[in-house]
Every structure is written in structure tokens, then in C-alpha cells.
Symmetry: D2
Subunit: 333 residues, 4 copies
């Protein structure tokens, strides 16, 4: 009943546009069709990077669809410091507010009349994949209050927020897109926010990087590798995706080892030739090597941080507070 | 943000047609518009009762909509005996199969081409209300396999089963009926099975009684008292409801105490008059008494068995296995 | 394997000295051997009551051993307001610090050299009984750091805190006192703090009252009614108990109903005699009545708040933060 | 507050004697001081291997203390097949019974008078490390029944079983050995059984191999790498350890990649020299290479199977049933 491991799963995959940008050979130089902007958050403890893919050339170069990819790098996010988590939530709130306004064409200080559906992707029973459902579990919804405290409560004072954790296809027998299409048709939100656990290439990214994109979710992303397309095209409304890497594929580690070995050999004058050989190994040969190492079922093995259970707790709090800040402002409901 | 306690919540509520039938004054005699049939399961360890409400008179007498209410009473269901659980699953499977065939107008041995959506109602984070989501969490879905192993896998060899735990309105901001209407429109199931935790009047029923009805879910039922209508009328497809009582409202206990006190007084010749007085207390007076006892927020307090966490585990296993037996037969998938 | 319900379980039990004090007939007047002191917390949102049982007369009148019983009543503790939780934590920290200093004969600002074992009683798998283990699960321990960062880290800068959740006898096959005696002998703490879920008489107390006592834990207290003695006599070191009511026994509700009925009858001039009769029903007769109502297994049924799962989350946070404040002060570790 | 990563953590670690045996260069030949015996379980679906380390030479060769290391390899153990789980439980029961009898010098059919303490090591909040606590959570204890059903219940009809999940040092502030020494002194068991999640070298072992040893637990083993010595020497009673690998250290994957690369190069006649060079890289150089790859915090990263949450569920059931079979035989209690 499990997916057969496809060749694609042996390749080294990242869901982060930032990592994709970093591994381009011409790093430092410009890639046509792609812009890059970097700055610091207020207290200098959060680093923000915006990658914009502008056209088809950019799409081909980056292997990702055109759109805006904003990354918050927050090194201490995986740790226990509550004040830092709040700082990240505040920064996230500001960025989300900007993004939502852009996507809906409204003014930033006027999200009152907005109707947003927040969806937590992933499997709550698989720790590393539970980020979406856990975040949604802490979310304050408001849509159902409309009509209860006078008909205009929501549109007058707070936006209409609804939320759902649909589960994964192996649990539901349905594609997430089917479920969401149905729910969207019935409840008519203006915007979909999806929260998802991602795969990164680098261990260093785990639990420390939040990516916001206005491009939705594309096939093959996410922990578990089962996501199908959740985009404006497939769902009819704009889709803002919030993702945090919680796993690195085992294949990425193998790949990095080969690189480091090449590097090590090159550094030695006598062995430089061997190093150059290894470095020059074609992707196809590397693939064979990795395949040899990673027996069939191994392709889907992941590396997670030792405190993954705790980490998901911190992240789901930080993201849910970020969304609260974006849509409700500082007011308590 | 919580529901105000309404007068209705102070009244003594049961979701079991069987209990409703039992408390009719003319118990033993016939109620017009209602039929009653009782029998034993194969090993004599399960008691089955079928209450049929046939017409408007029956509806008024029972306070429930017309339809068939089948009850499996299985005294040891709350205990640890795995063999007994399997026996109940098997009985449940047979009854479900019969009910599904009736509702769909198919033959019992030919459920292959059926497309069923199973929905677990309730809040997974509230132990007594988690029966639905926990059962669905153990369910084997098949609908997504169609097309994977050749296009006709599902319709040829197993029915198409899909499943969803939509959460409760306080978590989603949406009515469950809205979510389900959308999902049903997209995925076009023939039948909806909903699983729900119920409120009973009698402690003795907790975790020992399974009720199957072809009438769907009606407003005000279920633990938490927030269910809205899930019926053929509201959703467009027939709805088979599986419910197990996991709570008794505190009001029921107060009510029973007053009854027992009246009984006790009547038994004493000197005090008989007082007993008769108490017994004759009008519902309105009783309501006042109960109201006095149950300060505002108390109306929603529940009595649960001490082993409620364990109990939900047993029940969700038994019901998911019952559904598997009904739709897949004995074959493993 | 389960305890038979004993006569004692049908009687109405409270673990709160405050409730015991309140139901004395001469409420308002003095009870000899018992002192009572009441005041408000800093912001007037917490009410504190200190009951001191001074001698044998007090013990007999109150049915509890001599010692100090401090109660914090915090009405909003069961709600979601984080600021209020912090306020209660701060008040609790101050009271704990005072109590610890008293019990150890040290000065309040000098707990540095203290070695404290914190124990969470109860069964983590039974929601209403999980308060102790959940609190301990959030506790910052330090004892093992000693020796790591230079030999004197603990005694110089922070107290030595260790913690354990031993589980209940049905899980371990051992009495908690056996486990703790062994651990205390090996690790030689100066003081034991035990955290426990309690039974109250009044629904209103659930999740809103914290009781601190210097008398330890006595047989028959706690949710599940299985606690054995954990006192200075049985363990060799002073025992500070922190308890919060999370359940009301079903028997208490029956009892209250009878009282309310008597009250209601007395209020009516024609029925006053009946009311007086009911009010005067001897404990033995009431016991028979309750027994009749509460079929064998029912004695151990509890009433819990509908949001018990959430409530345990709030309480365990508030208490663990209270302990952190008491032993570490405001400093972060 | 977290352990600094030591050099030892970068080396490739296995807790399985079987893997240690396999990687000896003279595999196939005899290692002096070590015996090896292999056979099949009853249905041929379980492979058993017994490694005995007999003396100092064996200890040095294997890097593990002398004693018996029995391994059950059960390829399908990580899957859902309940019948297979029961088959493994039965095989495990037989082996445990033999081992217990050996260690206590009793006859296999006469474990009635035995008093056994079962301890689940690890952190229940870290999925891959939760095997011990989860197994203990499903264990049927009996020691507390003694005295309840007549004084001789336990010694006459069933052994005395007690159980504890002490938690890890970061949660308790105490070494597990301290806690256990205390509990053993108070409750005087004849034998300690410890259950632990292990680290393997090979992905293939995860969740498919059960190791039984009579040597206890030694420093540096287990998931989390924090175990201290739990042996007859440190605790005073014999210690039977049951372990299942649930993680592979990231370092092992890097190591394997280098090996595979060397292999690949050697296979090519033109590149053979390079391959030989890589193969011959000294451990120290490999260590440098791995260190370079694995930035400081990375040493403690683990690879787990994607279904780790489910897997822990299967394994804890299989092991608890194995223990039940060993100590209670087929009789239900």
C-alpha cells in the first residue's frame, strides 16, 4: 500500500527556494529571471531573504514556479527561549500581513473583511509531519462567531478565520485538493493559507527556517512526498504557503559526503587528481552510487533532529501566534 | 467564546432511542407508531434491540425522527477481553452490512461497487468526545488505490472507502455539514457513515451499547451538544450513524436521585405521602430544583467512566473492525 | 484486578481542608484547635485562605491531620488567559518559597543549598489524574548538572532539583511509598514536593483552587482513591503537597441533590415538615439511598469539567512555573 | 544544558553484538573467545543468532563485555501483520524463559516464586526513544496483588512482576542507576529486565531485530547516548536487557558512503588505485572527514524509519506480550 520508491526519491530534494538558490553554480552572480534581496529583522536576530522568480528562465534555473519566496532564518527557533519565539512570531505576523494584503489587493491595515481558510497539511501521527495539524490545533477560529454576537461581528471587528486539518491521502482515501475544493466551494474563503512540514538539504535548516510563498504547494513537496498541487489554478483562490523544514532526506547526507570527500582529496596535492575525478562524477554515476547505498526502502528515510517532538511544539506555537498577529493584530479576541 | 448554557441543557437528555423507549410510562405495552424487536447475538453474549419509529405518532411519542434504531448491548465491551471485542465486531459487521444494503438497495453480498465516506465526529482533544476521530484513525481506506493498481481495482474487488475527521466547530469555524457537503460534492460517495460519541441517561450504558440508525445525526445530540443536522435532507446522500454513549450528563444523576428519594419515601408507610408528593413534582419544579443545584456552567458537566481513556481505545478498535468486516468481508486487503 | 468499591467510596469525600472547614455546622464561629485566616493576592484576583489544624481537637473536628493548609482560589485558572496564569504562578511561587523555608528552617532568600525532589503522583494515561506527571514533565531539573560545570554549580547558584513520576500501583505493582523511600535513600533530598490531582465536593472548585499543605499525602486521597501515606513519618523527610481538584465524585452530586431538595421543601410552608424530615435523614439512611442509586461500579465514577484535557495543560504549566519561581527566583537557567 | 558532542559520538556506533561480529575483518573465521550459533525459529520466519563472548580476548575483539547476546531477526516485525507479531512474541517468550532460568538458576517451568522488576529506559516524549516506557505501559504487573487475594497469591500461582519507567536524566536530574538501586533495595526483586531502544549501524536492522543480553546496559548505549551502567555490579542483581534498534546515527551513513565509494572506484580497473586509497583511509582521516561534514550539533542526529511512531506501537506490543508469555505462560491472569 506504500508508494514504490521512485528514482526521484533518490535525488536530493529541497523544498526551500533559498537552498535551491544557494546551490546554483554561479552563486554570487545574478541568475536571469531571479531577484534576491536580503535584510535583517528588527533586533538583528532574524535574517530575511526574498527570492523572486520572475519568468520562465528563472523557473527553469530554480526548478520552482514563478512567485515570491520569503525566508525567515531564525537560528534559535529550535531552542526553548520563549521571548525569541515571540520575536519570530511578530516578524512573521508582519510579513504575513504584507503578503496577504498583496495577494488580496487590500490595504495592510484593513484585513477586517477578509475570509481566510487555514489548512494544516500532513499526518498528525508522524511527528516530523505533524507541523501543519499541530499549528491548526492552536489556531483561534472566528468564522462561526458571525451571526452569534450580532450579524456583523466578524466583518466589523475581526476577519473570518476558519481552519482544517484534512489528514493525508493514506488516511482519507481522498486527495487533499479534492477535500479543499469542496470546502472552499461551500465556505467561499478569499484566501487559503497552508502550513506544511518541508524537506531541506541541510541539517542546519531543520527547525530554523520559515518559508512563505505565494505560489501554493506543488507536487512532490513536503515530508512524506505525497503532496499534490494546491494552487490558485487547482483551487480557485490564492494560496499562501508557510513551510518549515523538519527533515533532511538520507540521500542528501550521502550526497554531501561524496562532495566532502572530493574536497578532502583535492586539498592534498598528491591526491588532487582523485579528488577532481570524484568531484566530476556525473550525476548519473552519483545516482548509481547512492542507489547502491540506499537499498529500496531506504530512499524514504529521513534525518530528524533529536528533539523533533519538542521542536514541533515550539514551531506550531510560533506560527499560530504569527497568524494571530497578522489577522487579529495585537488585540485579544 | 463558549456556548451559553441553555435551558435545554438542564433537561435530561439521551441520544439512545432504547432509553427513550424504556422511559415511556406504558413500557411493556405498545406505543402506536413504534415497533420493538429483541433478540440475542450468536453466542448469547450480545443483546440486540430494534426500535422502529414508523410515523408522526411514533415521532411525537419518542421525540426522535422516524427510522430504524438498532442497539447492540454488550456488557463486557468496556473491559479488556480481546476475544469479546472481536465477537462484537463480527456482530456489528453483520448488522452494518444489512443496514448498508437496505439503505442503498443493493444485495448484501455485493457491496463491491459501493463508495462510502466514513466520518468521525467530535473533538480528538477531548477524551470522551474522541471516539469518532479515533475510530477513523484506525480505518483502512481504499478509494485512493483506484487507478493505482489498474483502473478497476476498487470497483472489482473492494468497495471505495474514504474517511475524514473534520473536527468540531470551535476548532474549524465551520459547521460540520458545510465541510461534508463540500467533500461529498467533490467525491460523490453513495453513503455516509458517521461515528459519534453519545450522551446516555444511565451510567450502565457507558461504553456498553452501540446504536446504529439510518436517520442521521440531529441537532443537539452528541457529547458537547454542538452537533447540527447531518441527514439525507441536509447532505443529499443517506446517512448511517454509529454511536456509543461515553458520558452521562450531571443533570441525569440529579434527576435519578430525586426519583430514588421518592421511591424510598413511598416504601415507608408513614412517609408515603411525602414520597408521592416528590414523585408528582412537576417537570417544571424539578427543573427549578436541578437549576438550583447546577450553577450556570454546570449544565455541561459530564460523568465519565474512570477508565474513559482506555475505553475509547477498545471502542474505536471494535467499531473500525466492525466496519472493515462489513465492507471488506473477511478478506485482508 | 480492580478495587472493589468499599463503603467509604460512597461517602462524600473532599481532599480540600477549605471545603471541610466550610461544611462544619458552626461555620463562622471558631472551631477549637483550628485557625482560619483569609486575604487577597496582590491584584485582588486571587483569594488566599490558611486553615491551621493545631491539635487533636482540630484533627477530630476536621477529619484531617494537624498542619497548615493554604488555599489559593483563582476563579479564572481554568480559562485561557495567559497573563492570569502567570499571576497565579507568581503568587504560588511566593507561597511555596515561604512554605519551603518554614519546613526546612532556612531563610527565604537562601534556598541555594537545598536539595528538593519533586514527585508527580497519578496516572498519566487518565486525563483527570495526569496533573502530577504532566507538571513534572515541564519541570526544569538541575541536580544532574552538579559536577558537570564545576563541582559546586548547584549549591552555589541554583538549588538541586530532581523529579520523578513513579506511576500508580496498578501500573508498577509497587506502592509509591516504596519507590520514593528507595529513591530518597539513594539521592538524599532535604524535602519532597508532591503534586497530585484531588477530589473536591463542589463543581465550582474544579481547576480553580490550589491547595498547599505541609502534612503530606494521606491514605484515600487523590483521584483514583489509591494513594497511600506519603509523610515525614513514612518517608523520613518533610513533604509539601500541592493539589488541585480535577474531579467531583458522583456521590457528592447525589448528596447535594438531597440537600437541595430538603431546602426546597422547607421553603414551602405546607411542605416544611417533609423538608425537615429529609434534612434530618441520618447519614446511614442517606448512605442507603446513595447506594441504591449508585450501582456497584458507579462509586468510582467522577464528574469532570468538559475541558478537562485543556485544563490539565493550563494547570501543569502554572504549577511548574510556580515551582520554578520558588526555587530559581526570576533567573533563567 | 545539553551534552556536548564528544568525539565518541562521531564514531560509528552499534549496540548490536551481531553487527559488531559482522564487521570483524575475519568474518567467517573464528574469533578466539567468541562463539557463534545460528538457527531458525519454528516457522522459519525468524532467524536466531547467539554470540557468546567468553573471555578477555573476546571482549577486546568485540568491544563488548563477556556474556550471551541472543538476536532474533524478524524481517516483517516493522509491518502490520498481527499474526507475525504474535509468532515473534511466542519465540521471544521461549527465549526469555530460558534466559531467566539460566540467570536465576531455576527450572524453566518453575518461575512461580520469582520476583522480577521490569524497567523501560528512555524518554517517552521522544518517539524513537519511547520503546521502553511504551512497553512497560502495556505490561501486566502482579506484585501488588500479593496479600490482596490471600497472602500467597503471587508465589503460588504467578510470579511477582513490578515495573517502572524512570525517565531520562534530563527529566529527572538523577541517574537511572540511582533510582533503580533505591527501588531494588526497597522491593528486593531477584532479576531486573530492562527494555531499551538501541542504535544500529544498518538501516536494515531498524525495528526488525531484537537483542537479548545477560550483561546489562553499558555506558554510551541506547538512543540519546546517555545511558550509564546498569549491571549486576552496579545494581546487585542480574540484569537481562531487551533491546531493539530504532535509529541509525547519521555518522554511520557517512561512513557507509565512503565505503561504497571506495568499492565503486575499486571495481573500475582504471580507478582501482584511488579506491584502494580511500578504502585504506585511516580511521583518523575518516574521522576528520566525518567531522567536517557533521557540524557540531549534527553528531546526535539520527535516521529513523518514516513509520517510527507506528513501529514503536508494534514493537512495544510484541515485547510486552513476549514477557507475559515468559512469566505467566499461556494462562490469562
Amino acid at each position: 500500500m506504500e508508494d514504490k520508491t521512485s528514482r526521484a526519491e533518490f535525488t536530493v530534494r529541497t523544498d526551500l527556494a533559498l537552498e535551491e538558490r544557494e546551490r546554483r553554480p554561479d552563486d554570487g552572480e545574478k541568475i536571469s529571471g531571479v531577484t534576491l534581496r536580503e535584510w535583517q529583522g528588527r533586533n538583528g536576530r532574524i535574517r530575511l531573504t526574498e527570492v523572486k522568480i520572475l519568468d520562465g528562465r528563472g523557473e527553469r534555473a530554480m526548478g520552482k514556479p514563478r512567485g515570491t519566496y520569503l525566508t525567515l532564518e531564525a537560528d534559535q527557533l529550535a531552542g526553548k527561549d520563549e521571548d525569541y519565539h515571540r520575536e519570530v512570531s511578530a516578524e512573521l505576523a508582519g510579513q504575513l500581513r504584507e503578503r496577504i494584503s498583496d495577494m488580496l489587493g487590500t490595504e495592510q491595515n484593513n484585513l477586517m473583511r477578509v475570509n481566510i481558510l487555514v489548512v494544516g497539511l500532513g499526518n498528525v501521527q508522524v511527528t516530523a509531519d505533524a507541523l501543519g495539524p499541530k499549528t491548526v490545533g492552536q489556531l483561534q477560529v472566528t468564522r462561526h462567531l458571525d451571526g452569534r454576537y450580532g450579524n456583523q461581528f466578524c466583518c466589523e471587528s475581526v476577519p473570518r478565520i476558519s481552519a482544517l486539518s484534512p489528514g493525508v491521502m493514506a488516511q482519507t482515501g481522498m486527495e487533499t485538493a479534492e477535500i479543499l475544493r469542496g470546502v472552499i466551494r461551500e465556505t467561499a474563503p478569499d484566501l487559503l493559507i497552508v502550513i506544511d512540514a518541508l524537506a531541506a538539504r541541510s541539517i542546519r535548516r531543520l527547525g530554523t527556517t520559515i518559508q512563505l510563498t505565494d505560489t501554493g504547494i506543488h507536487p512532490g513537496s513536503g515530508v512524506g512526498n505525497h503532496r499534490h498541487s494546491l494552487t490558485k489554478e487547482s483551487l480557485g483562490i490564492p494560496v499562501l504557503a508557510i513551510g518549515v523544514p523538519t527533515v533532511v532526506g538520507a540521500a542528501a547526507i550521502v550526497h554531501d559526503t561524496v562532495d566532502a570527500l572530493a574536497e578532502a582529496l583535492c586539498a592534498d596535492t598528491k591526491l588532487r587528481k582523485m579528488g577532481q575525478y570524484v568531484r566530476a562524477m556525473k550525476e548519473a554515476d552519483r545516482y548509481e552510487l547512492i542507489r547502491e547505498l540506499l537499498e529500496p526502502e531506504f530512499g524514504s528515510f529521513y534525518v530528524t533532529p533529536p528533539n523533533i517532538d519538542e521542536l514541533i511544539g515550539y514551531l506550531s506555537f510560533t506560527i499560530s501566534e504569527g497568524i494571530h498577529g497578522a489577522v487579529f493584530g495585537s488585540r485579544e479576541i
